[in-house]
Amino acid sequence: MTHDAATHDDGKGQYFWVWGALLVLTAIEVVLAYRQVFEPVHMLEVLLILSVIKSALIIGYFMHLKFEKALMRWLLVISVTACFIIMYFFFFPDAGRVLRLGVQ
């Protein structure tokens, strides 16, 4: 078993740091959105990048995936990411076509 209490229980403080980082990133998101710092498209990109960082922190530390066996880590990440990429190719070319046709 690669993941055990004894392997990282001594570093409990890191979870408080991760929690603090998540709260700070959330505050940054709110300020960026409320002050309309970027154009909507760029705003979407920035918010999504921040969300991916937050989700990586949650999956890696809170869900302990960082401490799992490499096979499990990579199999989960690659398979789920591949499914999202397939979803993207299914939906967004059609949404772009609608945009080009000028439908409101």
């Binding site: 078993m1 409990k12 709260l23 709110v30 960026l32 979803m87 967004f92 409101q104």
Partner: protein, 271 residues
Amino acid sequence: MADATLQHGSVQHDSLQQGLPGDYEAPLFGAYSKKVGMWLFLASDSLTFGALLVAFSYNRIYTAWPTPFGKDSIINATIMTACLLSSSLTMVLGVFAAQRGDKGWTRNWLLATMFFGTAFIVLHGMEWSKLISEGLTLPGFPKIAGAEGEFAKVSASTPQFPATFFGLTAMHMLHVTIGVIYLGVVALRKWFLPILGVIYVAGYFLIPSNNIFHYGIHALLICLIVASIILFLKPKDYDAHDVEVSGLYWHFVDLVWMFIFPLVYLMSTRV
């Protein structure tokens, strides 16, 4: 089988090297079976939310999307986010307490996690009730008398907005509700059933009949029946593995909100 393998790791390792017939095979993922099962469920559930979020974005691309969420809604949603993030921290501390074998603190941290989760549900319910009272309704649903605010115009001009908003947030709220009940079962076992029953009855009689949650509260009844069947058919004292697996589910619920919050709320902020 994997559990047994882990508990007898050294014995199993030696016997595997010797290749004795009838020995357990080493777990492929280096984790016990319950954990692998939960990860597989979460991977499939992430695709459910992924499909909903992609459908939301698809609708949004070609529609003149409204930006109706004012300061109050954003503050409310930010507090909800802080509640979920804090609940993840208490959940991690609960898992550590369980791995130490400290049953008292395991229960305390799980109850703290349930408190934050319940706060999230209550705040979200208040937000929903406010939006509905201001006229945000699903396409085809009857309009509420007197609900003629800005959201009534949004519902009429962009029906995709209430459809995607309620669809996404209801799915997430259901997951949070199931998560709180899951943790309640792990923390309190059979003692949680009467508590859940009282909450259901109180909610049914105290929530006004014109409020959507007067009907939504029946989800608690379904959960009560399912939890009763599980607890009576397979009574057990939940161990550190069970707490860790329930924690995986809880963190996933937190994770999904990290995408719903910016996409649904922050991208529709009215300045």
